[in-house]
Symmetry: C2
Subunit: 339 residues, 2 copies
DNA sequence: TTGTAGGCGTTATCAA
DNA sequence: TTGATAACGCCTACAA
């Protein structure tokens, strides 16, 4: 690889001059400039961006931590974030693949050691205190999909409680009263919030909260299936299931099908997150839309704001909405038709 | 951020000594070592990995170019590649999001300017010559899912023709003789190869190739749907569809459903790639498995081999296999049952 | 075992 | 407009 020095020698000028024509930081006489350009082309020279950054004491990169690369959720985030930052002249360093606290701390260290200019973090294993400390250490940071009171200007969330609420309200509106709820792991705040939305809606509708209709899953297909089986064993009456995410819905769907329940004929189903294949399931899954793109966009916005110390408008709490497809049956029309 | 210098001053030793205890490159007396470690902890110092690499005239990173981040295919590749390289002490710089030649050249430049130690490329817009030139310029490079004769030790492919063959053979074995084939865009070699596999199987079975049963799609759901409609308009007889990828299969499935064909009862369907949601479709899609993980693993292997100049065993042509699910009907049993 | 000094490739500062 | 030269933070001879 050709270096600045090579170019300067070939062009018969100083390195400084070459640097100037590259960055346009200063006027350079026309003929010298021409020589430099020629030399650059001849040598196929391109500046070493990392070292460039080093000289400016910024790296021109931002780090992002996600638990995994696969799956539609995180890849969407990365896609959007990467596109945005690229446009802004930054580049994104991804650290993925750890679901443990230790692993995620490793990720932080890794990115810090690469001197990223800012950090976007989607990690549930890191403690609040750790993240607060990180922010206090001076690096601009944005926390995705999680709320830490002490960092309220750094967290971007969706309103999970609202999501649970609109899902449940929709089922209620469709005439369902005995609604199963399969929750996510309840040590996670978003799982709790979604459950809370469910409870609130029931309460508002004057329906008592029935514990036997609720089971804890773990945001996976298997977990959803397990929880669904548990519910079925309880031998309770229900006409609808609110699954706290689409994977859970998927697991529940399979179990219900196995047990001979047809959806939505006998049991209605609502998911959460509206992941990519929700629309490809049979029946197409009605699901609470998680505004991933918007969240990603906002996070970039917020980082830029922090980097430039400008105030700008960012929504810290994004609003989910319901995507209605075919997995819920309207009990009212049904009663009329007497089917 | 604390620097080497800060640590050395606090510990009362030279920077060289600090460097030594960090890298363990040399024996350091116990007490000085202790001081250094203390200083490092007190300052929360972590080495600047980029500069570290710079001093060693390698970056410790490898670049990977993919057309997009979203979707199950590329995210799987990235996931595997990233995990592997991380274990090996490398880190991966991703450049994504361009389907144009210009954009992908940009990506190459970008990664080169970051002085990645090697390159993994999944890009169909880049010309053979360009890639050959790139390799000749000295950077270790691996080409994914594409074959360039001049770079036969740098390309990792699956045997697309074999894939087309096993899909078609399976349908033949199940008694289907009038098999529609929806191809990918025929300017792409993998699409052509899959079609060729289809043709070869038919020929081997003594069935004439019928152009009216073939339509070109573009590897998307919409393209698949469009091609399927085209076929239906031709009013030809068929009992099965071989879709050149799962998105095409998806599009075809929807059109067939719309038109009242039930699958697999009236029409059987085989996809290609076995992407994540194939198993969640209804009916669960029988599909040719694309060994993405294996391909990713091999690419890492190959890069490492090139980097260390060791010879190692890499498969340059991976073998697909058929994942049989529920979207194909056995016409033999059917005839007996007379259903 | 330890420190000094030079180098990695660039930008920024200061004279000329 | 130009060119030396210092600086960025680290590693690695070389010398002590």
């Amino acid at each position: 690889m050709a270096t600045l020095k090579d170019v300067s020698e070939l062009a018969g000028v100083s390195q400084a001059t070459v640097s100037r024509v590259i960055n346009g930081t200063n006027r350079v006489s026309h003929d010298k400039k021409l020589n430099v350009v020629k030399a650059i082309n001849k040598l196929g020279y391109r500046p070493h961006s990392i070292v460039q950054a080093q000289s400016c004491s910024r790296s021109g990169s931002v780090g992002i931590i996600v638990p995994e690369l696969g799956g539609p959720f995180y890849s969407t985030i990365l896609d959007v974030v990467d596109k945005q930052f690229r446009q802004l002249g930054y580049h994104v360093v991804v650290s993925a693949g750890s679901n443990t606290e230790e692993g995620q701390k490793e990720s932080v260290k890794f990115l810090l050691s690469r001197r990223v200019d800012a950090l976007i973090v989607h990690a549930h294993q890191l403690s609040d205190d750790y993240l607060i400390e990180l922010q206090d250490s001076g690096i601009p940071i944005v926390i995705l999909n999680r709320f830490i009171p002490e960092m309220n200007t750094s967290c971007i969330n969706i309103d999970n409680e609202l999501g649970g609420k609109i899902a449940t309200e929709y089922l209620l509106k469709m005439g369902h009263e005995n609604i199963v709820c399969i929750t996510g792991p309840l040590d996670k705040s978003d799982a709790r919030a979604r459950l809370q939305g469910y409870r609130n809606s029931l309460m508002a509708a004057g329906i008592a909260y029935d514990e036997t209709l609720v089971a804890e899953g773990d945001f996976t297909e298997q977990g959803g299936a397990r929880a669904m089986r548990k519910i079925l064993k309880r031998n309770v009456q229900f006409t609808a299931v609110f699954a706290s995410n689409d994977y859970i819905a998927l697991g529940a769907l399979e179990v219900l099908n196995e047990e001979g329940f047809s959806i939505p004929k006998q049991v209605s189903l609502v998911g959460f997150d509206d992941i990519h294949f929700a629309r490809y399931m049979t029946p197409k899954l009605t699901s609470v839309n998680f505004p991933i793109e918007q969240m990603s966009l906002e996070s970039v916005q917020l980082i830029i704001q922090k980097l430039s110390k400008n105030k700008s408008d960012v929504s810290f709490k994004l609003l989910p909405s319901l995507v209605i497809r075919q997995s819920v049956k309207d009990l009212h029309t049904t009663l009329n038709i007497n089917n």
